[in-house]
């Protein structure tokens, strides 16, 4: 050890100022990195011991978008308006109905809260009429035609659609905040958000999402029971990022807060999805398999 110190000291004395500066830079960066990692580790420990902390596993189920650390992002929350927090769970299924009525948006009479945190806007219980079916078909056709311009994700980004989460998990929402602000609820050429599947071949446009005009306000009824609007009330957000879902006790982790989203309506346009899930509120992970395997339609 003493010999090493001597060698280091000797080397330092022989080094020119530029070399000393370089070594100082390396040491400084190393120290900064250590402090950063240490700080985050300590913060993580504190976070984990907090009563409201939620599990943050990274298993394969989360990779499919069902876990708290692998959220996909979605529309604005009701609590913060269009320009603030964005959230959308990737629960993978619509969930079972648990209770009629919602205390989140009491103004929406007849809404239903599902076990997976979705708030379903009321729709007629009767089968869709021919007119409703035609209106739904028309919406799909116009959306397909309207969003084809955004087949390239770069074009979408250039037009203001911003990814709300990592390109991880099966799908990412790209939200256009200016469209949301304008409140043009059903513009098929400029929907509030676009959904891109994250495939091995890169992002693949698979559909559009419309947001209601304001918090706790579903959009217009288009196709009756075919086009049911929904919101989410079990999401935790931090700033404009989704931090995950609430824990079993309904609380969020330290530094995040619970939000309810705007009401939304999905229109899945990818042929692999459209036949089975045309307006589905959320897709099971298995639905994305067809996209991954076949790529862009």
């Amino acid at each position: 050890m003493t010999r090493l110190n001597e060698r280091l000291g000797s080397g330092w004395r022989r080094a020119d100022p530029a070399t000393r500066l370089w070594w100082s830079g390396v040491a400084a960066v190393g120290l900064a990195g250590t402090l950063l990692i240490g700080g985050v580790a300590v913060a993580g420990t504190v976070h984990a011991s907090s009563p409201s902390a939620r599990p943050t596993g990274t298993g394969s189920s989360e990779a499919m978008g069902s876990g708290p650390s692998q959220p996909s992002n979605g529309p604005p929350s009701a609590g913060q308006g269009p320009a603030s927090s964005m959230s959308m769970p990737g629960s993978g299924s619509t969930g079972a109905m648990t209770s009629p009525g919602s205390s989140i948006c009491p103004n929406v009479q007849g809404a239903t809260v599902m076990s997976n945190g979705m708030v379903m806007a009321p729709v007629p219980s009767t089968p869709p009429t021919p007119a409703q079916q035609a209106a739904a078909d028309n919406l799909v056709a116009s959306v397909e035609q309207g969003i084809v311009q955004y087949d390239n994700v770069q074009v979408a980004e250039a037009d203001g659609y911003q990814p709300l989460s990592a390109a991880r998990g099966p799908m990412t929402h790209y939200l256009n905040r200016s469209v949301v602000k304008q409140g043009d609820v059903l513009d098929p050429s400029h929907p509030s958000a676009l959904m891109f599947a994250n495939t091995v071949d890169g992002p693949v446009l698979i559909g559009a999402m419309f947001l209601g005009p304001a918090p706790c306000q579903p959009g217009p009824d288009i196709g009756g029971s075919l086009t049911q609007w929904h919101a989410h009330d079990d999401l935790c957000t931090s700033g404009s990022q989704l931090a995950g879902k609430t824990g079993a006790d309904g609380t969020c982790a330290v530094g995040t807060h619970r939000d309810t989203t705007y009401f939304m309506l999905h229109v899945w346009t990818a042929p692999q999805l459209a036949a089975q899930y045309q307006f589905e509120a959320d897709l099971p992970p298995s639905a994305y398999t067809a996209i991954d395997e076949s790529g862009p339609a």
Binding site: A63, P163, A167, D201
Partner: protein, 333 residues
């Protein structure tokens, strides 16, 4: 009295080190792009590498992303500083060795956490998109041109830059072969040898390309549509030939040039110039690195002259002994 040494007219180890330094500095500059100081670095650069990975691989990537997400700006400053320090260190002779050593550690970390082991474990890695990973090549080239404490090669000998490194000229050829054989194998992965494997790669690359290039990539994707298997097999065979060629013939140059040219094709068509215009590129991807590797192995053009008689054993200066085409390195006693 010794005759003046002929001027070395090829690529020296120092030239390769400087080339490597420039690329590291370029990486550092890319790291300073505005988007990298926000969530994009963690969300769009690091986390996607975990996609499709085994959970054991995905976990550290996710943790790294979490670390960066917690302090994106501070993390990014550190990332940039390390790469710039490596670049500066390589530019200065006094600090080449520690800079290379630092680069090996950094490259290993980036390959694991930033590139997800070149996505090799996902089954979706493609040479066209840069597999087995640019940062791996940084380390390989760094090893090949690591400056020995005692020169192993007579400076008058017209040998490749790799000849003076710790693994010598043969080590360079082995590295070249391993890389190209790996690429050959990757071309036969199910994700690449499907009917539209190559076409999908090109279409995907077009998303991060300027319009003029995207148009060309899309057209080319149309041309190779449904011929993916044929293209994959052809490229696998070509990669195989490029890899083993330097071992079976003396005309190494041909294989180096073809390999470099093919890599540049990948770089333009499949990597869209490393996506450096996207605002979230972290390196120029593999094309320039393969070219640098080829340069490091490039035999210098001047003919070797007859060497003076070897110095007595035990002398300070190591020499090479030339016996026809077979040159053996004589290490000092």
């Amino acid at each position: 009295m010794n005759a003046p040494a002929p001027r070395r007219c090829g690529v020296s180890p120092r030239t390769v080190q400087i080339g490597l330094a420039i690329i590291w500095l370029f990486d550092g500059i890319l790291q300073l792009q505005p988007k990298m100081f926000g969530p994009a670095f963690a969300d769009q650069v690091i986390r996607p590498s975990a996609s499709g990975q085994p959970s054991l691989v995905a976990w550290p990537i996710d943790e790294m992303a979490r670390l960066v997400s917690a302090h994106p700006a501070a993390s990014n400053w550190i990332f940039a500083a390390v790469q710039i320090l490596i670049g500066i260190g390589l530019l200065r002779r006094d600090t080449v060795r520690p800079a290379l050593a630092l680069s090996f550690v950094w490259a290993a970390g980036v390959w694991c956490f930033g590139e997800g082991f070149g996505m090799l474990l996902t089954g979706a890695a493609s040479p066209l998109s840069g597999a087995p990973g640019a940062v791996l090549l940084y380390a390989v080239i760094g090893i090949l041109v690591w400056p020995p404490r005692i020169p192993r090669v007579d400076a008058t000998q017209m040998q490749p830059a790799t000849a003076g490194g710790p693994v010598g000229e043969l080590g360079g050829r082995v590295a070249w072969a391993v890389i190209w054989l790996a690429m050959a194998a990757l071309w036969l992965f199910p994700a690449n040898d499907g009917p539209d494997g190559v076409g999908s790669e090109l279409t995907s690359a077009a998303r991060s390309s300027p319009t003029w290039l995207a148009r060309f990539q899309t057209s080319l994707a149309g041309v190779v549509h449904d011929h993916g298997l044929t293209v994959s097999i052809a490229l696998a065979l070509l990669s195989l030939v490029i890899g083993i060629g330097p071992f079976v013939t003396r005309r190494v140059t041909v294989f180096l040039i073809v390999g470099a040219a093919l890599s540049m094709d990948y770089w333009v068509l499949g990597q869209s110039f490393g996506g450096i215009a996207t605002g979230i590129a972290t390196d120029p991807n593999t094309g320039p690195l393969v070219v640098l590797l080829a340069l490091a192995m490039f035999p210098n053009s001047a003919p070797a002259r007859r060497l003076p008689a070897p110095e007595p054993v035990g002398g300070d200066t190591p020499v090479t002994e030339s016996a026809g085409r077979d040159r053996r390195i004589l290490m000092p006693a």
